[in-house]
Structure formats: structure tokens, C-alpha cells
């Protein structure tokens, strides 16, 4: 066991059982899976994706590039870093051979999202972040502080409890300050425009199977801040050498963190290879914890303080040396050393843990995403944020602490407070920086040696496999791969990334990206500053798809719009169709004599027969309705519609078509004139919002001088067409005071009437060719009036019908459905509706487009009827119309396509509507419909196939 008996932030009084790669282990609350594995002496965690090499734990946080695991229980989750999984009872995981596995069953967990607003958002609760948050909190600002760890402290968590009393006090103060929100286990993963930061909070993962069912497992915080302070710290980076991927090779700060935070001494004979002073403290603390430690440092001018410290605790220091390789299989057993930089005087030293430090990469991801500029600092070997964020608008984005390249603890503390003061000043708040806690003398005072990879020639045998100098462990990409990219002529870091795949794995190159650039720059003899970095793309750390989907799943994925009569349709067995977001009854299948349900054709045959021979009713409430008021309403509508509206008299209704600027049909509907200054328009169901927007745009931006106001009344009115030769009797029964005679209430007029005390507007309009009355009542009464009509129609066998029957009825009459018989390339003239296009009006929307060359072509596609020669054959909607049935030579000239096709009771067989090139000139011709290999002979007819003379509309 490598767990120490004391120390760390773990709870030794509680034992958590878990399983890894099929073996049982124990750990404690406060552990990560990685620390618990190390505590159990498990170093090999995973297998590399391409080369099958054993891989271990190289970090203690989100930058882990190697220790990838698959969670199996409580629910399978692919590819997580062992270093970011908090241990819980019953955890089952296994090491990954590079690829994760998705569960084969639905995820039962809940996820959600929530918005939060603040004056100052602080990302990172390390020393700088805590100082920033406290300064802002004391100034009375609304503050959100997010941190990925379960507790605050940041880098302090890896120390021997440095400032732990202070962090506890600060946390207590922050959590008790109103308007301050501290979010732990929360990773800010993306900076978007204008102070919008996305963060993922892992809320119940650490509870394992004990997580409550009703709580969202993970939550996306949509944080909108006026000022953002990034105190995101830095990631240590390694130095590359041969066989640097063996389990037991670890970043120096990680080794220290496992010791101090988790009470795990990850090795007994430890070699620390560092190019800078920051790793010495790890060496000293590990030695004091009982390990035998050797430090290898390529520099010869050791810092006197650290030389003395090493001497004090018995650490052997090998200045002027470097690590050139390792031995071991499942775990490192030894290290090859050589003089730096010559490579001479090589030796092998035994060890069971190799800690490496090649310097630090400031965590500048969010800053870069906010368009912050980065500049290469040759001394630190790092890209640092340039103060000031050009083009970021009013939202200030500041970087502080190690993320800004600050090395000392005192500097981080002071910097955090100062940035908060600056941020508050930009908000017009005068604030004082809070006093930092006292800290000891900082002993990392100088920049280290920038060394990407040790300078040793490797004799490659020509195969990629002989190079074991791994730059990106997860991608198995090596120094040789980088050099190969350079040799292939690549000069851009983005090309190298793509060529080698370095930086594209789970860790997104947090430790490897810069090293690859460094190797490239050295190889090409160019400046790192000129080479630049690859782009830091969101997310900073991986986010599950489910977390992003949140609660927008299943029943609440997308709004379901229903009419006021919807519950009646459900009770009466309607089968529904999605029309945009609306649910509309498609048909109302009845029980058959055999106990089953009618199929669609049977239901439609019955429903259409009722409408043509008796009476039937439809819920047309989904039609868009727009109230248009104002003295210029008529003029406005004249400009919008292709036909004249202003001449319509109150009490009358007119069918009308509107086109886009390009002259193509946009929508159609009816216009009812209520008074001189008031109209009500209808739109098609799917276009209601689009049409209102279209009208508003003209009213507000093009013709603001017109006195006209538009108000949506779609849901104000329930709309119930009562259709069929017996509809008059039904209307007479429900509205006894209304004179329903044709003389008193003619076609294309409307009347106010009372239906059992409810004020209704009844229109004599017909989308079926039959005598029909469209009843409009305030939608509160929709279901009651529907029921009243239904009841009154019982003696006449009134039959509710759905959209499919509506489509058949209108198609028999040749009435087009916009969006089905048209597709955005069809003009009113194409539909044979020149009559709806005013010749008198000087202009209306789309008029000018009608005279373009393409619109004047005689061979445009026209809407025509098609009658299959064999009237039992149903044309496919979408069948292509061709002139020559011989299709052996491809491509075949297509004349158009079938837009609508039905079986018709009234017509005694099948029929269709089609858009056909020069269609009106082909009436009487025999053409062919081609559908999935079948050739169906058809006769071209006019589009109106039923009651061409219009005798039925008056009953």
C-alpha cells in the first residue's frame, strides 16, 4: 500500500469499495479514481490506442492525457480521465484501449440548464480567484465563482495545507454573502460573445448509485457576466524523452498533489526530472514523506536555496543531466540518464516513479476563446495573455494568477485582488483590494530552461514504431511524427496537428500542443512566436451530449401546439399528423365490424363521402389568423396580396394570395372584412408566424406612413368548417336566429351569429367545393361549440374529418395546398390562378418579378390534374412525370412531378395533381408517372376534377 497513514484531504474513516479492470479495491471519500488506484499500487490504467502500450496516470487533473477509463457502473460512460472521477461506493471502471463504449440502453439520468447573471464572474477558486471573488463580494457586487474541484483552493490543494485556514474563511464569507454564488465541481468550458460563459456542474456523479433520481446529474450554467476574471491557473508540461509514456512517469506537481491532497506516496524511489525550480518543492516534500529522491536537472546553476533543501532532506541532485529514456513494462523501473546536452556519460538509475517538469502552460483557453491575444514569452516558454481584450465590447475579460504567467503565490494573491478592483472600476464601482493573507518567501524566483524534448538523436529503423518519444500519449504521436510532418513540407502548426493528430484527443493537447509547436519551431529554425499555437476551441473540457441537451428531451423536446378542441379529438380516436409544431387530426378511424380499426384509406373514404353527400366537420383552428386594423389597412393589404383587397365590402370574404419579392407564392388564405378599417386574414397553418413577420417587416420598415396595425389572433378563434350538402341544416340548428338561406347569406360572405349564447363569426367559404360554413368562436368555447355542432349534426350523420380528407376534397376541386402543390418555385400563374393577380394595381409585392425572362417562358410548370389510365392505381406523391415510358437511357427528361395523389370516392378512382412543364398545353395528352421503377400511364386534365361548374357550393 502506498497510502500514508495521515495527511491529505481524504476521509480515512469511510471506506469506499470500487472495482477496476475486474478487481476489487478500496478508497476513501476525497479520492479520485486515480488517487485511489495509486493508493492501491495500480499504475497501469489504460492501453494506448494504436500501439497497445501500457499507460498510466500522468497528471492529477483535467489535463490528464493518458489515464482514460470507461465507467461501467452505475451507468456506462465512455472515456473519462481517472483523475477527474471522484470516487464513490460501487464505482466500476475499466481502462480503455483508446476508444470508449456507449451504453446500449437509455440514460435514465436527468440533466438541466439554468441561467445566472452577475457583475463579476470569477473562473477558478485558487489563490488568485479567491482574492478576486472576495474583493468583488465585499464591494457588494453580484459574484459567481466557479471551480472544477469539489473544494476551493486550486493549486493550494496540492500543497501541505498551505493557506488552508484562509481558504476556509474566505469560502465561509463568500457563501454567507448575499448575491455571491460559489459553484464547485463546475467547469467553465466556453466563452461566447458578450460575457456569456458556459459551465458544466457535475452535481451528483460523486454520489454514485446514491444520487437522487429527481436531481439533475449535470447542469449547464449559462452565465452572463458584465466582467469576467479568469484565474484558471496553469498546467505543468512534461519534457519528451524516449519511453516517456510508461506508467509511473508523472508530472511533478501531480506527484506532489497525490502526496499532499490524497495521502498517496506514488513511489518509493523517485526520480524528479525538472528544467525549472517549481518541481523542487515536490522533491523535498516527497523525500520528507519517506521516499528516496533523486533530482535530475539539465541546468548547472542550481538555486542555492533548493540545493540546500535537497541536501537537508538527503536528495541527490544531478545537475547538468537529463533523462533520455526509461525501462520497465507495466511500470517504470529505471531511468536512463545522460549529460546535458551532450548525451555523454550515460547511466541507468533504478526508480519506481519518474516525476517530470518542463515548465508551465498558463490556462488561457477561455481568454483565447474571448478573442484575447496571446504572445509568446520565450523565457517562460509559454503563450501569455496580452492585457486588454480588443474587440470584446463592454465586457471586460481579465486574466490573473498563474494563467497570466504569475509565478509566485504572493503575486497571484495580489493580482487577483487587483484585477477585481479593475473590473469593478469598469462597472463604476470603487473598491479596495482585500488584504492578502501572509505567505512565506517564494522560492521559485527564476524562469527555468525551456526544453521541449531532450536533445538525443534516435536512430529510427524506418518504422514509426521505433520512436517512443511520445508528444501526445493519447494519440500515440511522437517526436518522429512531428519531424515527419516537417519533412513532408508542412510549416503550419495547424497542419502538424492534423498530420500527427497531436492535440485532438480527449485532453485536447493541454500538455502536448505547445510541445509539438516547440519541436516544430526548433526543427525548422523558426521563432515560436511566429509559429503561434493552434486555436483553443470550446469546450475546455469534455461535456456529455446529454448535459448539453438538458431537459429538452422527450415530451418537452419541442413545443406541441394543440387547439382548444384537442382533447375531443383524442377522446374520439383521432390519428394525428404533425404540421409544424401543431398536432392535427389526420383522420378519425372507426372500429370496423371485425373489431379492428379502419385504416387511413377506409377512414378517408368514409369521411369524404360524408362531406360530399351529407355533412362533416373539421377543426381548422390551426390556421393562422391576423387582425389588421387602421384606415390604411386596405391599402396595405393591396400592396401585400396579388389581388385587390381594398374593394372588399364589410361582410364579405375574399380568397387571396401573397408572393415573395421573387414572385413565388408565399402563402394563401382568406381575407374577411370586418369593417372599413378592420380585416381578419387567415394564413396556412405552418406559415402563420412567418406571414405575420413578413407583414410587420413591411409595415414597420417600408411603409411606416401607412396607418395599419397587425395583431395575431390565431388562438383567439377556434375555427370549425361545417361542410356538405346538409351543412345548412346543421348551422340552422345551432344558430337558429341566423338566416342561412343562400339569398340572405351568400357565398363568400360572413355573418355574426349566436350559437347558444356564444357570439360566432360564420363564413360562407368552402375549401371542398361543397356548401360549407366556417364557424369561428372564441377558443374558450371551441370545444363546446364543436360539441354543439356535432350534436346538432347527429340526425344528419355528421362526421368529423381530418387533414387527409380535407386534402382529398380540395384536390378534387383543384385547390392547391401551398407547400405541397407549390415548393417555392411556383407563381400564381403557374397554378392557373392569373385571376388572383391584379392587372390594375400599380404594384404589389412580387409583381415586378413576374416580367422577368424566366417567368415569361411558355414552358413553365403548370398545375394540372392527372388521371391514371388504370383508375385503381394510386400515383405516388413525388412520382416524376415523363413523356416517354422508355427510361433505358439516363438521364431521362422529367416534365414535372406529382404533388398530390388520392383515391377518390367522388371521382370513382384515383387521381392526382401535378406540376408539369407546359402542363396546360398538354391537357388531353397521355404522359407517364415514374415511381420507384413503375411506369404509370396517365391522362393530363385540368386541375378541377369535381363539379367544375361550381354548382355545389350553394347546396
Amino acid at each position: 500500500m502506498t497510502r500514508l497513514t495521515t495527511g491529505g484531504l481524504i476521509d480515512r474513516t469511510t471506506v469506499l469499495s470500487f472495482s477496476f479492470d475486474g478487481r476489487p479495491y478500496a478508497g476513501h471519500p476525497g479520492d479520485t479514481l486515480a488517487s485511489a488506484l495509486l493508493a492501491n499500487g495500480v499504475h497501469r490504467v489504460a492501453t494506448s490506442v494504436n500501439r497497445g502500450r501500457p499507460r498510466g496516470i500522468m497528471a492529477a487533473g483535467v489535463e490528464e492525457a493518458s489515464a482514460l477509463v470507461q465507467l461501467e457502473a452505475p451507468f456506462p460512460e465512455p472515456m473519462l480521465s481517472a483523475t477527474t472521477i471522484e470516487l464513490y461506493e460501487g464505482l466500476v471502471a475499466r481502462g480503455l484501449p483508446g476508444r470508449g463504449k456507449l451504453a446500449d440502453r437509455p440514460d435514465p439520468a436527468r440533466y438541466d440548464a439554468i441561467h445566472a447573471h452577475c457583475d463579476v464572474l470569477v473562473v477558478g477558486a485558487g489563490p488568485a480567484g479567491l482574492m478576486a471573488a472576495l474583493t468583488a463580494a465585499r464591494a457588494g457586487s453580484r459574484v459567481v465563482l466557479v471551480d472544477e474541484q469539489p473544494m476551493v483552493g486550486g493549486s493550494l490543494l496540492g500543497t501541505r495545507g498551505e493557506l488552508s485556514d484562509w481558504t476556509a474563511t474566505v469560502l465561509a464569507e463568500l457563501t454567507s454573502t448575499p448575491e455571491v454564488l460559489v459553484l464547485s465541481r463546475t467547469t467553465a468550458f466556453g466563452y461566447y460573445d458578450d460575457g456569456f460563459v458556459l459551465a458544466l456542474q457535475k452535481r451528483t456523479d460523486h454520489l454514485g448509485a446514491a444520487a437522487p433520481d429527481n436531481a439533475a446529474r449535470q447542469r449547464i450554467w449559462r452565465l452572463r457576466a458584465k466582467q469576467v476574471i479568469l484565474a484558471t491557473g496553469a498546467h505543468e508540461r512534461p519534457v519528451v524523452f524516449a519511453d516517456n509514456d510508461r506508467p509511473g512517469v508523472m508530472l511533478a506537481q501531480a506527484g506532489r498533489t497525490y502526496l499532499n491532497r490524497y495521502g498517496v506516496l506514488a513511489g518509493n524511489r523517485i526520480l524528479v526530472f525538472t528544467t525549472n525550480d517549481s518541481a523542487y518543492v515536490a522533491a523535498v516534500e516527497l523525500a520528507e514523506a519517506g521516499a528516496e529522491v533523486t533530482v535530475v536537472d539539465p541546468r548547472t546553476d542550481l538555486a542555492p536555496f533548493w540545493a540546500a533543501e535537497c541536501a537537508r532532506v538527503g536528495i541527490a541532485v544531478r545537475p547538468g543531466h537529463m533523462v533520455t529514456g526509461t525501462t520497465g513494462e507495466e511500470r517504470v523501473t529505471g531511468v536512463h540518464l545522460a549529460a546535458y546536452p551532450s548525451g555523454g556519460a550515460s547511466a541507468t538509475v533504478h526508480c519506481d516513479l519518474l516525476l517530470v517538469s518542463g515548465g508551465w502552460n498558463p490556462t488561457v483557453h477561455l481568454f483565447s476563446q474571448a478573442r484575447g491575444k496571446l504572445e509568446y514569452d520565450a523565457e517562460l516558454g509559454a503563450f501569455l495573455p496580452v492585457a486588454g481584450l480588443p474587440g470584446a465590447g463592454v465586457v471586460g475579460v481579465r486574466v490573473t494568477g498563474a494563467a497570466a504567467g504569475t509565478v509566485s503565490l504572493a503575486g497571484c494573491l495580489a493580482g487577483g485582488a487587483a484585477e477585481a478592483v479593475a473590473a469593478l472600476r469598469d462597472l463604476g464601482v470603487a473598491a479596495q483590494p482585500v488584504a492578502p493573507p501572509p505567505v512565506g518567501t517564494d522560492r521559485v524566483e527564476r524562469a527555468g530552461l525551456v526544453l521541449w524534448t531532450v536533445p538525443v538523436e534516435i536512430s529510427l529503423d524506418g518504422s514509426d514504431l521505433s520512436d517512443t518519444r511520445f508528444v501526445d500519449l493519447q494519440r500515440d504521436a511522437t517526436v518522429g511524427d512531428v519531424l515527419r510532418a516537417a519533412g513532408a513540407g508542412l510549416r503550419s502548426v495547424e497542419h502538424v496537428k492534423r498530420y500527427t493528430t497531436i492535440g485532438t484527443a480527449h485532453d485536447q493537447g493541454k500538455t502536448s500542443g505547445l510541445i509539438a509547436s516547440g519541436i516544430m519551431a526548433d526543427a525548422l529554425g523558426v521563432d515560436m512566436a511566429a509559429l503561434g499555437t493552434t486555436t483553443y476551441r470550446p469546450p475546455y473540457a469534455s461535456v456529455s451530449f446529454a448535459a448539453l441537451a438538458g431537459r429538452d428531451r422527450g415530451a418537452i423536446f419541442d413545443p406541441v401546439r394543440v387547439t382548444a378542441i384537442h382533447s375531443w379529438h383524442i377522446e374520439h380516436g383521432a390519428q394525428f399528423e404533425d404540421v409544424g409544431q401543431w398536432k392535427r387530426p389526420l383522420c378519425y378511424p372507426r372500429r370496423t365490424a371485425f373489431g379492428g380499426l379502419e385504416d387511413l384509406p377506409a377512414a378517408v373514404a368514409r369521411e369524404t363521402r360524408a362531406a360530399r353527400t351529407g355533412v362533416a366537420m373539421l377543426d381548422a383552428s390551426t390556421l393562422g389568423k391576423i387582425n389588421v386594423q387602421g384606415v390604411d389597412a386596405g391599402e396595405f393589404l393591396d400592396r401585400i396580396y396579388t389581388n385587390i383587397i381594398s374593394t372588399l365590402k364589410p361582410g364579405f370574404v375574399r380568397y387571396a394570395v401573397m408572393c415573395g419579392m421573387d414572385g413565388m407564392i408565399l402563402d394563401d388564405g382568406t381575407v374577411m372584412r370586418v369593417s372599413d378599417t378592420e380585416f381578419v386574414l387567415t394564413t396556412t397553418t405552418g406559415n402563420a408566424a412567418k406571414v405575420l413577420d413578413w407583414l410587420e417587416e413591411f409595415a414597420q420598415t417600408e411603409w411606416p406612413d401607412l396607418r395599419v396595425h397587425l395583431t395575431s389572433v390565431t388562438e383567439q378563434w377556434a375555427t370549425i368548417p361545417v361542410v356538405g350538402p346538409l351543412s345548412r341544416q346543421v348551422i340552422a340548428a345551432v344558430a337558429p336566429a341566423l338566416d342561412v338561406s343562400n339569398e340572405a347569406f351568400g357565398f363568400m360572405t360572413w355573418r355574426s351569429a349566436e350559437i347558444a349564447g356564444i357570439e360566432a363569426r360564420i363564413c360562407r367559404i368552402s375549401f371542398s367545393g361543397e356548401l360549407a360554413y366556417e364557424v369561428n368562436v372564441p377558443s374558450w368555447y371551441g370545444i363546446a361549440v364543436w360539441q354543439a355542432v356535432f350534436d346538432a349534426g347527429q340526425p344528419y350523420g355528421i362526421t368529423p374529418y381530418g387533414t387527409e380528407t380535407m386534402h382529398v376534397l380540395r384536390a378534387e376541386k383543384g385547390y392547391p395546398i401551398i407547400g405541397q402543390d407549390t415548393d417555392g418555385t411556383v407563381t400564381p400563374q403557374d397554378l392557373g390562378m392569373s385571376w388572383v393577380v391584379s392587372k390594375k394595381k400599380l404594384d404589389f409585392v412580387g409583381k415586378r418579378s413576374f416580367s422577368r425572362a424566366e417567368n415569361l417562358r411558355p414552358d413553365r410548370k403548370h398545375l394540372v390534374g392527372l388521371l391514371p389510365v388504370d383508375r385503381s392505381v394510386l400515383l405516388a406523391e413525388g412520382a416524376q412525370v415523363i413523356a416517354d415510358p422508355d427510361v433505358s437511357q439516363l438521364p431521362v427528361v422529367m416534365l414535372g412531378h406529382v404533388t398530390s395523389s388520392y383515391r377518390s370516392v367522388a371521382l370513382g378512382g384515383t387521381f392526382g395533381l401535378a406540376l408539369v412543364r407546359s402542363g396546360r398545353d398538354r391537357i388531353g395528352e397521355r404522359l407517364f408517372a415514374w415511381q420507384d421503377g413503375e411506369v404509370v400511364p396517365v391522362m393530363v386534365t385540368g386541375p378541377v376534377l369535381y363539379d367544375e361548374e361550381g354548382a355545389r357550393r350553394d347546396g
Binding site: 441561467h115 447573471h117 452572463r224
Partner: protein, 203 residues
């Protein structure tokens, strides 16, 4: 079912969009309370706030129209909600719609303007309780903090892909009126209830 089996009084009962949902609302944790306020009269009013009609309208309503964007005022039984620079939604007691519509139309007279009865276009929900703001934050991107959105604030926005009007009715952001289009109401209610699943007994 035939006519004989249904009494006329039952037939012509108005039905609100969220009829039957109260039991589900009542099952929410007691940190929020949701109630549909059905059948409120609602009139959409368009008038130039600086024109003569605005004054005439104010007389009818007993109060000047609020001209501060995103605000509302109360005037006796009326609530006047700002919807746009020349647009308001007037909420009035059940049944008051037709008379008020006539009065407002008369007040506007020949001046530019419009009055539209939209009583059944939307329904209203009262949302109260100490977790109200949290509940709305799960879908609403507007800052409803009382310092930012004090009592009387009236915003139109999207919650759960649904256009809604939110009126802040107290100084602690724990009492809101939500006005939602009728066809979206059931979806929105289902969304609210789902959002409430996680709320616990305490704020």
C-alpha cells in the same frame, strides 16, 4: 354521444387551455405555486402614446399607459402591460372585454390605433413562491433579480421555446404573472412541472 345526453349548460361552459392541470400544479413542491387564472379579459391596444388618442384611452382606463419599456401599471381592476412603443396588453376581469373594447375603440375614434380582443389568445398563470425565480431561470435568459426587474417589470421573452410575457408582481421576485399563448399552454405547463421536479422543500 347524442344531444340528449349532454345538458346545454355543460356544453357551453368555456374551457380554459389548462383546464384539468391544477392537480399537477398542486403536486409541485411548496416552494412554488402555480395557478391558472383563466378567462381574464385581454385586449391588445395600439395607439400613438404621444397622440391625442392616448389621452382618451387613459381616461377609459383610469390611468396613463405605461410608456417605460418593459413595464406595467395597475389601474383599478386593469393591468396595463407595455408590449411595445405603441402597443399594450390590457388585462381586465373576466367578462369585461366586450364593453372595454367598445369604450377603447370609441376613445380612439378616428385617430390611428387599434383595439383587438385577444382574451382567448393567451392564458395567464400565477407563479409564486420563494423558488419562482429559480424555476424560471431554468428557461428564461432575462435577469429577474429584483434590482434589475423590480415590481411591475413586464418582459416578453422566450421560455422553453415559447414566447411568454412575464410580469413581476412583488419586490422579492417571488410572484410572477406568466402570460402564454393558448396553443403552447399545455406544453409550457408540462415544462414548468418538469422544471419543478428537482425543487426541494426549502429555498
Amino acid at each position: 354521444m347524442t344531444a340528449e345526453h349532454v345538458s346545454p349548460s355543460k356544453l357551453l361552459r368555456p374551457l380554459s387551455p389548462l383546464d384539468g392541470w391544477q392537480a399537477a400544479f398542486d403536486a409541485l413542491p411548496n416552494v412554488v405555486a402555480v395557478t391558472e387564472i383563466a378567462f381574464m379579459a385581454q385586449l391588445n391596444l395600439r395607439v400613438d402614446p404621444s397622440g391625442p388618442a392616448a389621452g382618451a384611452v387613459a381616461k377609459v382606463l383610469g390611468s396613463a399607459l405605461p410608456t417605460q419599456p418593459c413595464s406595467s401599471t395597475r389601474s383599478g381592476e386593469y393591468q396595463l402591460l407595455w408590449l411595445g412603443p405603441d402597443e399594450w396588453l390590457i388585462l381586465a376581469p373576466e367578462g369585461a372585454g366586450p364593453e372595454l373594447e367598445t369604450a377603447l375603440r370609441e376613445a380612439i375614434g378616428g385617430e390611428p390605433g387599434a383595439v383587438t380582443d385577444v382574451s382567448a389568445q393567451r392564458t395567464t398563470l400565477a407563479l409564486s413562491g420563494c423558488a419562482s425565480r429559480e424555476l424560471l431561470a431554468k428557461g428564461c435568459s432575462i435577469d429577474l433579480h429584483p434590482k434589475v426587474s423590480p415590481m411591475g417589470t413586464c418582459v416578453q421573452t422566450l421560455v422553453a421555446q415559447t414566447g411568454i410575457i412575464i410580469v413581476a408582481r412583488d419586490e422579492t421576485a417571488s410572484d410572477f404573472l406568466l402570460v402564454v399563448r393558448a396553443s403552447f399552454a399545455q406544453y409550457f405547463a408540462a415544462w414548468l412541472i418538469d422544471a419543478g421536479v428537482e425543487l426541494t422543500g426549502a429555498c
